[in-house]
Symmetry: C2
């Protein structure tokens, strides 16, 4: 069994289906252009909890429950969970999905985590390790500002290159049971560092990683951009997108017809004051579950390359003067006629 | 292909070998009872760097390089890395292995991360996703104290129930190439929360999770403790061990003849002032690579259940009054006659 097609990509020979997707967002995301796509909106950003972190955990729990419910399975049929978030020591996930009482592998891939969760989930299903697995992530505007920048109460100003962390959680049940969307390939990301140090311009920091993963995917699968209906990055935003398109052009690829970015789609840049776009693990996850998946299910899109992007930094690495490297995890999804 | 033997365990039908292991430790670990087992000691805990975090990254890089070298392969033959550490946003790993330029899946499982890295690495190799993969983790006493408790400069006192974070990194190359040790099974951990809130008594917080994973392993594989030469937990320490043995006795299992704990072995409790024992991702990883693996290689031990244990907390979750749940990831290793 040789499933490796190239250095960075895996062609899944065993069929892996995306059986369900769920998306829970906050009110700002509901007011955005994709508002009607999400399953559920929470009006109270605290979710009735005592802290932003607990609120984020509650989002994850709801997204997990809903994905399991939409898959029409029992909780205990989920063989393992792949989950992570942006907070230090992934506490949103730990406290969010703890009560599910299911086997867990915790992940950290910054905002690329949904790509990682889908990749490892698909590898687990294709490997025969479980009939159903759950892949999920979350982010919360207030917990992320506190974690990476300043508590909201400081009223800190944000430069135009900054992105707005999505309050939301997205979850998918993957499995062997046929559905109308399958995962057919994976391109594992490498850490790419161009030496950029501006944590308020994460799109620029992540664009080189997105470029690397997309190039590896096209090379490994011997495809051109025209072989994808859409190539969808996680949260590069307006600045990151320009850099990505330029970097890819230098490599001989023009993807401007195929490219979408979840961070650019989730908010209205003009009216919502979100500057460079949306970001956070929850951005790619909710847009995937709410917007991308339905278009693959209907067959409007036949094949999509989904590339969540992550900026690998912490308060500490930033304060110690380190650069902000990026990573991007690629997942190939196809409409399945069943 | 049905590899699931039970709810939490996977029996690997395809052979996965541990091809090499490397361990790099600090001088305190070198002075401990296992000092002669480790590959390399670093005398300068700063590793010539400007910060503890950068020092930990340097440890990881050295461990990775050494494991690859001991496996007799080229760096580029490593198909993917599974790595993580204790620091917020896993920066020790990101900055440590970035220069390797290899495909990466970042993990967070607190001190259980080596169990998670070996599990996912073994699943990837058995799934046919790579001929060689690298599993590694690290911890550093000074970066961990700063991350979870107080900077060393504060001279904070430590209760007797506290453990001492190991300065070290351990790495293993797993693959399809035959060696004298193979991974034959995995038991994925669940988050277990007994409501304990004392982050200075992590052994007690993690013992219930270790009990849960060990029981699931014995049940799923229809084995008794006597079917293992050793059952080796990560970093429960003296207090955690007592609780684990008691909890297992309540479930009808007596493992006191088989049980070892990496945290109890790495330091001399009397002379090294380490209180409850060693801890940190680097504890289980270095003791595994330096002490456990050679005994499996020689055939002194035929079958071992390795169960790294993690305490799922952050500064924030602790300060917000949350409990400290635990998780434990189980890996079954066997001597192979080749």
């Amino acid at each position: 069994m040789k499933q490796t097609t190239g250095k960075q990509s895996i062609e899944l020979k065993t069929e892996v289906y995306v059986i369900s997707g769920s998306s829970i967002v906050g009110s700002k995301e509901k007011e955005g252009p994709l508002g009607s796509c999400f399953d559920k909106t929470v009006e109270d950003p605290m979710m009735g909890k005592d802290s932003w972190e607990e609120a984020e955990s509650a989002l994850q729990k709801e997204a997990a429950d809903l994905a399991i419910q939409k898959a029409g399975i029992l909780k205990d049929q989920v063989r393992m969970i792949f989950a992570g978030d942006l907070l230090a020591q992934s506490i949103a996930s730990s406290f969010g999905i703890m009560t599910l009482g299911l086997p867990l592998y915790g992940l950290y891939g910054a905002c690329s985590t949904m790509g990682e969760a889908l990749s490892l989930g698909a590898m687990a299903v294709a490997g025969g390790y479980g009939e159903y697995v759950l892949s999920l992530t979350s982010s919360h505007f207030a917990s992320a500002e506190k974690e990476f920048r300043f508590p909201l109460e400081y009223g800190n100003q944000r430069p135009l290159s900054a992105s707005w962390t999505v309050t939301g959680s997205g979850a998918c049940v993957l499995g062997t049971r046929k559905s109308s969307v399958k995962i057919t390939g994976i391109t594992t990301g490498k850490i790419i560092d161009y030496g950029l140090k501006d944590s308020q311009n994460m799109g620029a920091c992540m664009a080189p990683a997105a470029c690397d993963t997309i190039c590896a995917n096209l090379k490994d699968f011997v495809r051109g951009p025209e072989n994808y209906d859409r190539i969808i990055t996680g949260d590069l935003g307006y600045i990151g997108q320009r850099i990505l398109l330029d970097l890819l052009k230098e490599k001989g690829w023009d993807i401007h017809r195929q490219h979408l970015d979840c961070g650019m789609m989730i908010y209205d840049q003009d009216s919502q004051d979100t500057h460079a776009g949306g970001s956070g693990c929850g951005c790619a996850a909710t847009v995937f579950a709410g917007y991308v998946l339905p278009r693959l299910e209907s067959g409007e899109w036949k094949r999509v390359l989904f590339v969540p992007t992550g900026a690998l930094l912490s308060k500490l690495s930033f304060n110690e003067g380190q650069s902000v490297p990026g990573i991007a995890q690629g997942v190939v999804l196809e409409h399945a006629d069943n």
